[in-house]
């Protein structure tokens, strides 16, 4: 039986593990991709929120529906669905791009994670790490999902898709020490989702909200998963225990102002 947090999100921890072990997340190779390896990357270096500040922000956002999840729901942006693919590592950053657009109050657009994933993996259904996806998305972008459908692993790259992808790029990436939990809390408190690789789960997801755990005296992570709207509570869940240990963390701080 899954446990639920006060908001109704299922808690994923050792006592309540997910039934499916992800096959999509391959831990980041830090020799090939050290911290902030990309032209668009920078290391997280901002002042950290204190516990008191985080608590205050959580209380305010809970009371005023001011979380990324609230903006997401207001815009009608659904959680992504990687289906039977191993493409969690590209779905997580693409979803944060979609989220960044609705935070800017742009029209809601569903972007194709499979377009970028298939081209990166040359048509193979393979795991990867978020930084590989961010590298591609910063250089080439990705097209609207209507131009490249889910579970389409083809590498056919039309002129239209290339042109459309160029309008949806990551132009700012904040790379975070994966064990710097306060940096992750701070990012989420200032409304930037964080993609994290979870070795315990073999999965990459996006953290989009926090919950203050009074008993533990610390925040908990609420995620947007990429297993569709049917999973968890409308595609969201809460991480706990070994599932809170990450070996990759980063934010899509800015994506292109989308057009088309």
């Amino acid at each position: 039986m899954p446990a639920y947090n006060p908001h109704g999100h299922p808690i994923i921890d050792e006592d309540h593990p997910v039934s499916i072990f992800g096959t999509g997340y391959i831990p980041r190779d830090f020799s090939a991709y050290p911290l902030a390896p990309l032209k668009c990357s920078r290391k997280f270096s901002e002042p950290l929120f204190t516990d008191a500040e985080i608590q205050e922000i959580i209380d305010f956002k809970d009371a005023n529906n001011a979380w990324l999840t609230d903006i997401e729901d207001r815009a009608g942006l659904p959680r992504k669905n990687q289906q039977e693919s191993s493409y969690c590592w590209i779905h997580a950053p693409v979803h944060l791009m979609e989220l960044d657009m609705v935070v800017a109050n742009e029209p809601m657009r569903e972007l194709s994670a499979f377009y970028a994933g298939a081209l990166i993996k040359n048509g193979r259904n393979q795991g990867g790490s978020g930084i590989q996806g961010i590298e591609w998305l910063a250089e080439h972008g990705t097209c609207l999902q209507s131009l490249h459908l889910p579970m389409d692993f083809s590498t056919h790259n039309s002129v239209e898709a290339i042109a459309n992808a160029s309008l949806h790029k990551i132009i700012g990436h904040v790379d975070i020490e994966p064990d710097n939990e306060r940096a992750i809390w701070t990012q989420v408190c200032k409304d930037q989702g964080v993609t994290v690789g979870i070795p315990k789960w073999g999965h990459e997801v996006g953290i989009v909200r926090l919950r203050w755990d009074k008993k533990a005296g610390r925040p908990r992570y609420i995620i947007d998963n990429s297993w569709g709207m049917e999973w968890g509570k409308a595609g969201r869940g809460e991480l706990a225990g070994a599932y809170e240990i990450f070996d990759e963390a980063g934010s899509v701080s800015t994506s292109s102002p989308g057009v088309g």
Binding site: R42, E46, P47, F49, E56, I57, F60, K61, N64, N65, A66, W67, L68, D70, I71, R74, D100, V103, A104, N105, E106, P107, L167, I171, G172, V174, T186, C189, K190, D191, Q192, S253, T254, S256, P257, G258, V259, G260
Partner: protein, 321 residues
């Protein structure tokens, strides 16, 4: 004026000058040579006046042979004497017969006149009678030699050239700073602190000319968002603020309200399908967070700092609806 009388013979005189030259040889290397050609007889007495002895040397000839040399020690406009010697009654004494003044060298560059300057500022320009508070007056003057006085309403008082002081105005007060140089030239600077029962009128600066139709563009720095006041941070994520924007702004080509809140300077990347927002994004932003509002009526919009909270921002937008 310097008057030198010599009763030395020319031979003795030459010896004295030579000793002086060797003592201060560097003084002989500069200047423009002026020659005064006359021929005092041997053993004669010479009587002359030198107006600027430090600038002059003389050459006095004895039968074509120089035995006393003089030269200008510096360039510039210098008065010198032309001395014409004539024998005295005893046939030995030479007296000055004629004095002429010469201008030698280029005219000197006059020293620039340094006028005094004074700057007086305050950190509070107005306050309410019900909320009197201290204000800082700060001043600077130049050049350092000026005499500086500050009048805070009870007469001028000497103060340091640069400084600050705290005042507590009870009524509207004009503060005057003066800086006076030795020639009596004075510079003034004034500042006023207004004390009134009513708040000062909220003056809307002239805005940019924009296409008619309410549109709102906000640009902030997402990376440093936590440094913003909480009220601004909250506004940027407020559902009620977004609902308000969607209700008052015109719809773009996609049907979405033309209201955007970008977390970085991506404005240059706004596509041609959003031409009005693109134009708004081209306006200069002096700092972040920044807001541009295009007008619902007329063509004059607003471009300026983002107000501190949702209510103030809505009030700003309402002015342009």
């Amino acid at each position: 004026m310097k008057r030198i009388r010599s009763l030395m013979t020319p031979v003795v005189f030459l010896a004295v000058m030579a000793a002086a030259m060797s003592a201060e040889p560097e003084q002989r290397k500069t200047g423009t040579l002026i020659e005064i050609k006359s021929t005092p007889p041997s053993g004669s007495e010479v009587d002359w006046t030198v107006l600027e002895p430090d600038d002059l040397e003389f050459r006095i000839y004895d039968g074509g042979q120089t035995f006393v040399t003089t030269a200008l020690s510096k360039t510039g406009m210098v008065r010198i004497l032309e001395i014409v010697f004539t024998p005295g009654p005893d046939g030995k004494l030479l007296k000055v017969k004629k004095l002429n003044e010469f201008m030698v060298g280029p005219p000197p560059i006059p020293k620039p006149i340094v006028l005094p300057t004074a700057t007086l500022t305050t950190d509070v320009s107005s306050m309410l009678t019900s909320d009197l508070k201290p204000a800082n007056l700060t001043w600077e003057t130049s050049p350092p030699e000026v005499k500086v006085q500050l009048n805070t309403g009870d007469g001028p008082k000497d103060v340091d050239n640069n400084g600050s002081t705290v005042v507590l105005p009870q009524r509207t007060t004009l503060y005057t700073l003066s800086a006076t140089d030795s020639a009596g030239r004075t510079a003034y600077s004034q500042t006023i602190i207004t004390v009134s029962d009513k708040p000062p009128p909220d003056v809307i600066p002239p805005g940019p000319i924009l296409k008619q139709g309410v549109r709102v563009l906000i640009v902030y720095d997402a990376d440093t968002k936590q440094r913003l006041p909480a009220s601004q941070r909250n506004m940027l994520m407020s559902i009620t603020f977004r609902d308000y924007l969607d209700s008052v702004c015109v719809k773009g080509s996609t049907g979405q309200a033309d209201a955007r809140m970008y977390g970085s300077d991506v404005a240059g990347l706004i596509g041609p399908d959003q031409p009005e927002l693109r134009e708004m994004a081209k306006l200069e932003r002096k700092s972040l967070p920044w807001i541009v509002v295009s007008p619902g009526k007329g063509t004059v919009g607003f471009s300026g700092l983002l107000p501190l909270d949702e209510a103030a921002t809505k009030a700003l937008i309402e002015r342009y609806r």
